[in-house]
Amino acid sequence: MTGHAIVLVGTTKGAFVLRPDASRTEVNIDGPHFAGDEVYSMALDTRAGRQRILAGRLSMHFGPGIAWSDDLGANWIDPPEGAIAFPPDTDAALQRVWQIEPAGDGEPDVIYAGVEPAALFRSTDAGESFDLVRGLWDHPHRPLWNPGGGGLCLHTIVRDHADPQTVWTAISSGGVYRTTDGGETWEARNRGIRTPFAPDPEPPEYGQCVHKMARHPGRPERLYLQHHWGTYRSDDRGDTWVSVGESMPADAPPVGSEPRPFGFPIVVHPHDPDTVYVIPLSSDMHRWTVDGRCRVFRSRDGGDTWEGLSDGLPQEHAYLTVLRDAFCADPLEPAGLWFGTRTGDVFASADEGDTWQSVARHLPPVVCVKAYAL
């Protein structure tokens, strides 16, 4: 894809729109938008001739909502009644919008939203109003899901580019759920994902603390997943999972028999379904980059082998945390990579991870980074 990158950065105190130059080594920073509000989810919808940025904002005092801008952030619309809320019969109240995911080109006005408490919403008017997806809300497992450190949230929505009826979601801590009938029914899809936080050594049907999941349309049967412990791959659309991250670093000596590594995000290369990236953290007890070195790990063979990428990243006293939605790729050629840290840094690579630059510093803690091309 040609064009210029645009990078949406959500932080705990507002959102920023980064406009990189052609080299993607320098950025113009526009913001803060929603100053003071957490912005955990952002998306750019370029279907049907739109250039609509959507943002899931949360005021600690005045609650959550979804706002949108049709002029790349110059003006925002947050309708008086709010775009998203739980129906009265659920006796639930929206706590935070964790994910905003436009559907495919075949459904140009459909947008999904994943929220806390864990639920999926669907919009058919390009994000101006949302309805609860009842099939997942009514799932018999739902009362048995438990919150992770971030709350009980549905934070990941992965769609099947060839089949709009199929959607995967990930919930912390509920695990992966898949629908193949447009959201009417859902099945847990967590077989093989170990849960060291539970006494039974056998993986349960559900209850996994999935941190992020990713998929490339060029290899539709394959999914990648970063769990609380361990990086996993599925080659059968999520029916079964195998650990693929054991060669990556963790606390030394090893923290135990937990699958490696601990981490939050996982990103698939936009042009190569066999190339995948993670940012390992030491362990769930030490949630920072391993050995005080900031390294992105890349696999070019679907997770079978990994290489650490550090050129341009801080390698001394760098105790950074990169959260589940704070790492992404842009669709340009060559692909760019972008991640943000809890320390308010944004790093970028314009060469698929070989070299990195610091492109923003001293922002509020970064919780969301989404890159697109215009």
Partner: protein, 96 residues
């Protein structure tokens, strides 16, 4: 008829047409819940920032009837007397 004056924090007044004070006439025997429902009819952008979709006052918003926080009285059932002043303020929550 119960006349109520509502005082809004500036950040909330912006959602009420910039008016820091609203003078309202409610039915006799009205409660705080009735007042917030009345506000919701005319000023939904303000109302949803004070209460969530279950109708509960948001945790970090305080509603005072005279000097009293309604959490120290009867919550949404707190009665409103004629001429009373109701103040809606963000709590001193925050941290870093």
């Amino acid at each position: 008829m119960t006349h109520v004056r509502v005082r809004l924090a500036p950040v909330l007044a912006a959602l009420a047409g910039g008016e820091p004070r609203l003078d309202l006439d409610l039915e006799g025997g009205a409660t705080v819940g009735d007042l917030l429902a009345f506000l919701g009819d005319g000023l939904p952008a303000l109302a949803r920032r004070v209460r969530d979709e279950r109708g509960e006052v948001r945790r970090h918003v305080n509603v005072f009837v005279g000097p009293d926080n309604i959490r120290d009285r009867d919550g949404l059932a707190t009665p409103l007397s004629d001429g009373v002043e109701v103040t809606i303020l963000p709590a001193i929550s925050g941290g870093g």
